[in-house]
Amino acid sequence: MTTGYFFPHRHILGIDQLSVDDIRHILSTAESFKEISSRPIKKVPTLRGNTIINLFFEPSTRTRLSFEVAAKRMSADTFSISASTSSTTKGETLIDTARNISAMNPDTIIIRHSFSGAPHMLTRYVDASIINAGDGTHEHPSQGLLDMMTVREHKGRLDGLKIAIIGDILHSRVAHSDILGFTKMGSEVFVYGPSTLMPRALDRLGARVCTSLSEAVADADVVMTLRIQKERQNDPLLPSFREYARQFGVTRDVVALARDDALVMHPGPINRGIELMPDVADSGRSVILDQVTNGVAVRMALLYLVMGNAPVTG
């Protein structure tokens, strides 16, 4: 780590805002916290007295649980509000909800929202640190960081790698954060999927848009597949999941095109047999559960680092 480095962020809104040094610092911090989760007593007092609120406007099992586990292992007090129990169903605006929560003086608010930019808006209305746990089709920075941590753990580096991302790039905030993150760290990101699921001008984010699955996967160090979101099917994006699986699904034969030591990743939850075949998901190359384990460590690091930049009160 560079001497004199100081983590400069109060909020974690996206990978977009992070420098190479910031990402390195978050990953090293996460690596040092990872060991805590394998202790017999999985708890350190680092965030004792900290109040952390999970404000989830979209259903989530793993991300929410991961943040909660991370916070509790650091001895913070955590509270979770999900959209079904929150006041927004009574017509309260997001800003009012956040202001009310803010009046209870939490230190950090972790928010997931179906609208891109909702966490950015909250930073203008509350004093707490905001961590984006996924906003619309924009970013999912903690997922991007845990993906980088997992790859670095297995490959020993991030620069000079070929990362293939396959699937629904258009609706994937994970793909967005991964493209930005891996590219910043010196990897090359190749993306492929049906053209209906490719956003325009994706190359301007730094990704290389491929015209075939083999082009994307050939000699890749990492093959990452994305979830096809069944709930988006009001737009005629795909004729059927059956055809998607046949034409775009990642099978054993597809993975064979990648390097022998290539990693198979997926942000979960997996539609087994659609975007990723079960034998690949459960193969020795799959690091999908390492991603989940590292997710806790990355989130511990983020909670710790933003707390270091809390405004001085009193």
């Binding site: 929202h113 891109s116 930019g117 950015h120 619309g136 970013e139 905030r173 325009r200 001008a201 737009d235």
Partner: protein, 424 residues
């Protein structure tokens, strides 16, 4: 109150009469008079040295929100904003509550506008309740005082209905103003492109507009009846209109100051005051719109003045309402085009007064002797800082807040009555 004025030493720019000269302008009994006939001492003198004296500006595309959404704007507050921006006339769109689709709403609007500091020209709906199903009663609406028809805010999906609207409106001398948007392509909250991809916002492709612009051109060409294209935002639409005009199709078009001043980059940070429909486009689109302003493809600069309160704007970007206010910034932003050499002074006045008057069939847009004295005096050098506390409109939803602007109306006169005056 004196009914006679003598505006002295101003630079009179009156494209209709091919005038551009420093001279005096006389007003008597609410009309333009011969300066030689106004008796010295009898008239109030206004020293317009260093200023431009032009026919009153006309904004052919505004939303005044009354009846129905008076918390955003009402006819009086909208007209005050218009006067402050140098406008003597505004054409107000029919998407009020209720929709202005019948003579009683048109009459109500004109009644509420009586005595307001700007002339209000109601645009009525093309279809009943703007539902796009059947024609509104154009004859009644014309008699009640409507000058044009439009389902603005919504496209007319049904091509047969649009054809009938063009044919039937021409019978009554009503302009037809098209909000050109192919709805099946227009799901999104900003322009589709690199910025929407970066921000994770669903994009509206440029072709959603261009496809419908072409339909309107095709219908106008086939029927021979005129159509006016509202708020053009794309390079492709501009090109289609240019080619159509070369073929002699009776099509006219407007664009807005935000499309020639800003691009999609203004949305950065999820700025809801940069959200409107059609959305801000790319720099390439903006450049083509500038060319269209210079070469005569565009007939008018209009604002699409769309007031929204913080209830609609201080929310998540996807949930925010479309539209920005524009009456008080239109002239300074357009004057920048003259300073930058995109258009000259004469063309500016054509775009902001003469042409919109002609498209709507108004007795306005000129400084001919005998016409109602609708006059704007512009100080092209006046600099001001546009801040929220200075906004006259009830709503403050402008992406130009905080901008330092140059050039503004220093005096506005409607029918010989001063409606805005910074000389005092």
């Amino acid at each position: 109150m004196s009914s006679s004025y003598l505006i002295k030493n101003g630079r009179i720019i009156d494209p209709k009469n091919s005038r551009d000269e420093v001279a005096d302008l006389a007003i008597r009994d609410g009309r333009l008079a011969n300066a030689a006939e106004v008796i010295q001492g009898e008239a109030v003198e206004i020293d317009a040295r260093g200023c431009w004296v032009v026919p009153g500006l006309i904004d052919m595309h505004v939303h005044l929100r009354e009846p129905g959404e008076e918390y955003k704007e009402d006819i009086l507050s909208g007209c005050r904003a218009a006067a402050a921006g140098g406008f003597t006339g505004v054409a107000c769109m029919p998407n009020t509550r209720p929709v202005n689709d019948n003579r009683s709403v048109t009459a109500l609007i004109l009644e509420l506008a009586a005595g307001a500091p700007a002339r209000v020209h109601p645009v009525a709906a093309i279809s009943k309740a703007s539902k796009g199903e059947s024609l509104a009663e154009f004859g009644d609406l014309r008699e009640a005082g409507a000058v044009a028809v439009s389902d603005d805010g919504l496209p007319v999906r049904d091509s047969r209905l649009m054809r009938r609207a063009l044919e039937y409106a021409a019978d009554f001398g009503l302009a037809v103003i098209s909000h050109s948007e192919e709805p099946s392509l227009a799901h999104g909250s900003m322009n589709e492109g690199a910025v929407s991809t970066r921000l994770g916002l669903q994009g509206i492709p440029t072709v959603a507009e261009s496809i419908m612009v072409y339909r309107e051109i095709a219908l106008a060409e086939y029927t021979g009846k005129p159509v006016h294209i509202a708020h053009v935002s794309t390079a492709m639409s501009t090109g289609l209109i240019r080619l159509a005009k070369e073929r002699g199709v009776p099509v006219t078009a407007e664009t807005t100051p935000h499309y020639f001043t800003l691009t999609e980059e203004a949305v950065e940070g999820y700025a809801t005051n940069a959200k409107m429909n059609p959305p801000l486009r790319s720099e390439e689109d903006r450049q083509e719109i500038l060319r269209g302003l210079a070469d005569g493809t565009f007939d008018a600069i209009a604002t699409d003045h769309a007031p929204h309160s913080i209830l609609e704007k201080e929310v998540e970007f996807d949930a925010a309402a479309n539209g920005i206010i524009g009456l008080e910034t239109s002239l300074p932003l357009s004057l920048a085009l003259v300073r930058e050499g995109v258009i000259d002074e004469k063309r500016l006045i054509e775009l902001m007064s003469l042409n919109p008057a002609a498209i709507l069939g108004l007795e306005a847009g000129t400084l001919s002797e005998g016409v109602p004295a609708d006059i704007t005096i512009i100080d092209p050098g006046a600099e001001f800082h546009y801040t929220e506390d200075k906004v006259i409109s009830k709503s403050k939803n402008s992406p130009f807040l905080g901008w330092k602007l140059q050039g503004r109306a220093v005096l506005t006169m409607m029918g010989g009555r001063i409606t805005h005056n910074l000389f005092d």
